[in-house]
């Protein structure tokens, strides 16, 4: 006899589907939602990353190796012939690379205007042909501009397909744009040969680039092609030895990992949240299966008697779990794809996180990832079915047949130690250091804390209710309710686990987001003390000249101006760039730590941001070096400040020192303090009029109140997905509560029939059920909120700092928590009563007579 007869399995499955279609559908849906969220997050992430990676690769032109300047101001072009002559290098192509913009740039929080950012490249066509042929321009006739007698192609520019589409230019028209603080107006000669569909690039001749940008003697990048059979590692080492302080070797892998690192923490967190949804779905499957198994115990006993072995029974239940899992996973994949599509078109490839500017994400269907997520959903469904299956198989059929073997023995105390052990282990893991820069162990610790909290529920419920049980109550329904809860904590725990898990998760996320938001708001107030701010977008290569600065300062109504020059600087290969902010005047940042004494002679005092201290290990009082204007300059860390705007670090140094070291007198940002009585609006208009025409499209004015509002808007948008996941977690929890209550109530129909027979009124039975439900809801909400606060502390103190390298202050949203608790209690009581009404409606006689 086979342990699992297929025909019998099929009949029993079909029978169960007919008996409990709603419960099975909800279990399928729970799995589907979890799989859908995980799959959607993965799809969006890969699409955005893929297109971002392709865009970056297009900008680099797929050279074998590149040497890059650490800052946007470039490096000495004399490096080019030195590198070209190194053994193992077949060809070297020098490149000028600066950020540029056309039209009017959109402001954060406002809809996109007729403009945008792009990267301007200046190449030597003859060299680029050998090293990065994708960056060669082709005219409308399809011919390259090389050596056909057309001259040096002065005044011409080639645009990538993405840029041509975005600015709506055609060959032969003029393309007006701003770079390095100046306006330019060349003729579009054609498109680039093979730059892909993602990047916004424009290419001009390198001599013209140096002339237009005022960048004589400097290039930002030298692309290299290696000789056949050359050893890349050896050559990279040889190159690194030949480099000055302000140049780095950038390998394609390094660049890819830099792009990856930019958003990795954010993506991992999103992925974790999606897994949380799957986990909650798993809880729901577990409770649904447990209840179903409990209800069918006598049926299983009959089947065991008739000839279904224990293995066969476990197999039968696992097949049920498998069917749930397959249906849920399939539905989840389809839902996930639709969700991802919606998210990408509405929210953009970074789901509002702001990491992938200007890259259009294209969704692909990855079979391997889909199989992975389907497998996860399947595994969750199987895991949720395994424990009830094993529990069912353990009950001797002889007992179960008689209706005994319910396992309820009020004398036995539920063990508290497994839950406590899990909580202890979870706490330990939560305090562990990051692994590969990610808080993996902390997430594992959170999972253990959650499991421990849920496992502790029976013991906790009993402990909380013991005094009430001892005291008793004269009101019959209350008395019965308390005794039932106290006497059958395992049954209670089934219903409780869903509530506790989803409440805890929701509370944890809500507290983290509230804390973060409050900290960001406080920080914004601290960093925006002035009345009016000016920012130039896409102006890394150069901003407003000193003459224009003088004109700005002469505008009436201004009491004080603080100028700033902001650019990115790379401190390590493979790491995202750090923001270098040269600030005039007193730095308006909230300091977390301050150095004791003044800076030593010969060093420049710098203030570093919290993420910078975390990532690069710089401490207050340290002396280090920064490559500025070609040479390493000694710097002294005078303080650490809190920064939420730049996740990868920022350094503030005095503007005067910067200007002295580099000779760069331009300015990209300014903070204006207005004179008393001055009208901000009028002053802003006067300033806008005083700006050079070339940078008007890049200039953005802002007032503190408005900027705070927009920043918080962006914050909310980037947490939109988190909010959605919170809501889904709660919804799943509430559905779990409702289904488990109704199932338990239906299972106790005979008990109610008996109560009615001995004279308990219908209303009193309903009251008893309401109180049971309320009691469970109260215990669950209290435990869930307590557990959630614990998880929130892990999130705020461990996960966020390890992921994003900043700290925040804990803030508890009391109204939200109170509302949540009230909603849970009401829902639990409500569903218990509704189910009770349905059960009692059939009449007591029928209840007692029922076969089962």
């Amino acid at each position: 006899m086979a342990a699992l007869a297929p025909v019998a399995t099929g009949w029993l499955l079909a029978g169960e589907w007919r008996a409990q279609p709603v419960r099975m559908a909800i279990a399928v849906l729970a799995i589907a939602v979890g799989v859908a969220l995980g799959f959607a997050v993965h799809l969006v992430n890969s699409a955005a990353l893929g297109s971002f990676g392709r865009a970056m690769a297009s900008v680099q032109g797929r050279a074998d190796l590149s040497v890059r300047a650490v800052a946007a101001t470039g490096m000495d072009e004399a490096l080019y012939p030195r590198l070209a002559r190194l053994p193992g290098i077949a060809a070297a192509s020098p490149v000028v690379e600066v950020p540029a913009s056309w039209g009017e740039l959109a402001r954060p929080g406002a809809p996109a205007k007729t403009g945008g950012r792009f990267t301007l490249l200046g190449t030597d066509f003859l060299r680029a042909m050998q090293v990065t042929p994708g960056l060669i321009g082709v005219s409308a006739a399809g011919l390259s501009g090389v050596g056909t007698g057309n001259g040096w192609l002065e005044g011409r520019i080639w645009l990538s397909p993405a840029l041509m589409a975005a600015c709506r230019c055609r060959a032969g028209q003029n393309f007006r744009f701003t770079a390095a603080g100046r306006g330019h107006d060349p003729v579009v000669a054609g498109t680039l040969a093979a730059s892909g569909q993602d990047a916004r690039l424009a290419v001009i001749d390198i001599a013209e680039a140096q002339d237009r940008l005022g960048q004589f003697g400097r290039v930002q990048r030298i692309d290299l092609k290696l000789a056949e059979g050359a050893d890349p590692a050896a050559i990279t080492a040889r190159i690194a030895r030949a480099l000055p302080a302000d140049a780095l070797v950038a390998t394609p892998d390094g660049e890819a990992s830099r792009a990856d690192a930019l958003s990795r923490a954010y993506r991992v967190n999103l992925g974790m949240l999606a897994l949380v949804a799957l986990l909650t779905g798993g809880f729901l499957v577990w409770s649904a299966q447990s209840l179903s198994v409990a209800r069918r115990r006598p049926q299983f006993a009959l089947l065991a008697v008739l000839g279904l072995s224990r293995r066969g029974l476990v197999g039968q239940l696992l097949v049920e779990g498998l069917v749930l899992g397959v249906a849920g996973a399939g539905l989840g994949l389809a839902l996930g794809y639709g969700l991802a599509d919606l998210a990408v078109t509405r929210l953009g490839g970074d789901l509002g996180g702001g990491y992938f500017n200007g890259a259009q994400a294209r969704l692909a269907f990855p079979p391997l990832a889909a199989a992975g997520f389907a497998g996860l959903g399947l595994a969750t469904a199987l895991a949720g079915s395994l424990v009830p299956a094993l529990a069912a198989a353990r009950v001797p059929p002889a007992l179960a047949l008689k209706g005994l073997g319910d396992g309820i023995d009020p004398g036995r105390r539920p063990a508290a130690w497994p839950g406590l052990a899990l909580i202890a282990a979870g706490t330990g893991l939560a305090m562990a250091p990051p692994v590969a820069g990610l808080p993996i162990l902390a997430y594992a610790g959170m999972a253990l804390l959650l499991a421990g909290g849920v496992a502790l529920m029976p013991a906790l419920a009993r402990a909380l209710l013991a005094p009430l049980a001892r005291a008793g109550s004269r009101w019959l329904p209350l008395d019965l309710a308390i005794r039932r809860l106290w006497g059958a904590p395992q049954a209670a725990s089934l219903a409780l686990s869903g509530i506790v898990a989803s409440t805890a998760l929701m509370v944890a996320m809500a507290v983290m987001v509230a804390s973060f938001r409050q900290s960001v708001d406080d920080w914004l107030v601290a960093v925006l003390p002035s009345d009016l701010y000016l920012h130039l977008e896409a102006a890394e290569a150069g901003g407003i000249s000193p003459d224009a600065q003088a004109r700005l300062m002469a505008v009436p109504g201004i009491a004080q101006v603080r100028m700033q020059r902001v650019m990115s600087i790379r401190l390590a290969p493979g790491q995202p760039a750090v923001a270098l902010m040269a600030q005039g005047g007193h730095a308006a940042v909230p300091l977390l730590q301050r150095a004791g004494g003044p800076a030593p002679a010969g060093t420049t005092p710098v203030l570093i941001s919290e993420p910078m201290a975390w990532l690069y290990g710089w401490q207050v009082g340290d002396r280090s070096t920064l490559a500025i204007a070609g040479r390493p300059r000694p710097v002294f860390v005078a303080g650490v400040w809190r920064d939420y705007a730049r996740q990868f670090g920022a350094i503030i140094l005095p503007l005067a020192d910067y200007r002295r070291l580099t000779g760069d007198l331009t300015m990209t940002d300014a903070a204006f303090d207005l004179a008393p009585g001055a009208q901000p609006h009028a002053v802003q208009q006067a300033l806008a009029a005083a700006l050079p025409a070339a940078v008007r499209g890049q200039a953005q004015f802002g007032r503190p109140g408005e900027m705070r509002r927009i920043a918080l808007q962006i914050f909310d948008r980037s947490f939109a997905v988190t909010y959605a996941l919170e809501a889904i977690a709660i919804l799943i929890g509430l559905i779990g509560v409702a289904t488990s209550f109704s199932a338990q109530v239906l299972a106790r129909m005979r008990e109610f029939g008996m109560l009615r027979h001995i004279g308990v009124a219908r209303g009193q039975v309903l009251a008893m059920l309401a109180l049971e439900g309320a009691g469970l809801g109260l215990v669950g909400a209290a435990a869930g909120i307590a557990l959630g606060l614990g998880l929130a502390i892990v999130l705020v103190m461990v996960v966020n700092p390890q992921s994003f390298h900043w700290t925040m202050d804990l803030a508890l949203p009391w109204p939200l928590l109170a509302g949540l608790a009230a909603a849970l209690i009401a829902c639990a009581a409500g569903t218990a009563v509704l189910a009770g009404r349905r059960a009692l409606g059939q009449g007591p006689l029928l209840a007692v007579r029922a076969d089962w």
Partner: protein
């Protein structure tokens, strides 16, 4: 046939038939609330051959249903052994016992125990498909069995619409569909009114005889005990034949 057992049935037609069920020296005790154990019975011996009909009576709580569980392999005795169809149950694992039970035993319970969400034909066919039969032949045999118990053509009905007596007919059909050598019945008429009970009992015995199965009935009812060929009384000291007419004390 074992000459040293004075209580073996004497019908010559079955003297040479093989023993369907043999029990020797069965003893069972149960745990009490105080943590002790209470002996239910001991020294229980039993022989059943094909075609035998035996009834076991006894006080309530003496362990009649427990004895039935031991004989079916659903429980392990403290002492003694059970042999079904020549195979000893002791020493077999749970899967093997289940396999034997599936092929060699049919069950009729007091509380009908019909699966509410399968139709009648499928309920009856359960023992066959659990043993691995294909769907088509199993359902055919089930419908034939339903005809035999007087429920012809009702294979597609669901148990919810049946009366108590009809449900027990279904149970009888299920107990015999796989032609087991042994049928165990635990208070088969307990939930039925007297008229229906009589009819059901007749049906059970006739069907079993037609299938050539031995029947062992556990009952309170005097009428049932009288209808059986052999009546045995279970007490703490074992199984003893009972004089017809005297109710189990």
């Amino acid at each position: 046939m074992r000459p040293e057992t004075p209580f073996a049935p004497t019908a010559p037609a079955v003297r040479t038939a093989p023993a369907v069920l043999t029990a020797r020296g069965l003893a069972k005790s149960v745990p009490t609330a105080a943590g002790q154990r209470r002996q239910l019975f001991a020294h229980v011996d039993l022989d059943l051959h094909a075609g035998d009909v035996a009834a076991i009576t006894g006080e309530s709580g003496v362990g009649k249903s427990t004895l039935l569980n031991l004989l079916a392999g659903l429980d392990q005795p403290d002492a003694g052994n059970v042999t079904i169809g020549g195979q000893a149950l002791s020493g077999l694992n749970e899967a093997a016992t289940t396999a034997i039970r599936c092929r060699h035993i049919g069950f009729v319970f007091q509380a009908f125990h019909v699966l509410p969400h399968l139709d009648l034909a499928r309920n009856v066919a359960l023992p066959l498909v659990l043993a691995g039969a294909a769907q088509g032949p199993a359902l055919e045999a089930a419908r034939a069995m339903l005809d035999q118990v007087g429920l012809a053509g009702r294979g597609s009905d669901h148990p919810a619409v049946l009366s108590g007596g009809e449900l027990q007919r279904v149970a009888i059909a299920r107990a015999l569909v796989h032609r087991p050598p042994l049928v165990l019945a635990d208070e088969p008429t307990g939930n039925l009114d007297p008229d229906t009970a009589r009819r059901i009992l007749d049906l059970l015995l006739a069907s079993a005889q037609q299938a050539g199965s031995a029947v062992l009935i556990v009952t309170h009812s005097e009428a049932v005990a009288q209808a059986a060929g052999r009546a045995l009384s279970l007490s703490a000291s074992g199984l003893a034949p009972r004089a017809p007419g005297a109710l189990g004390a």
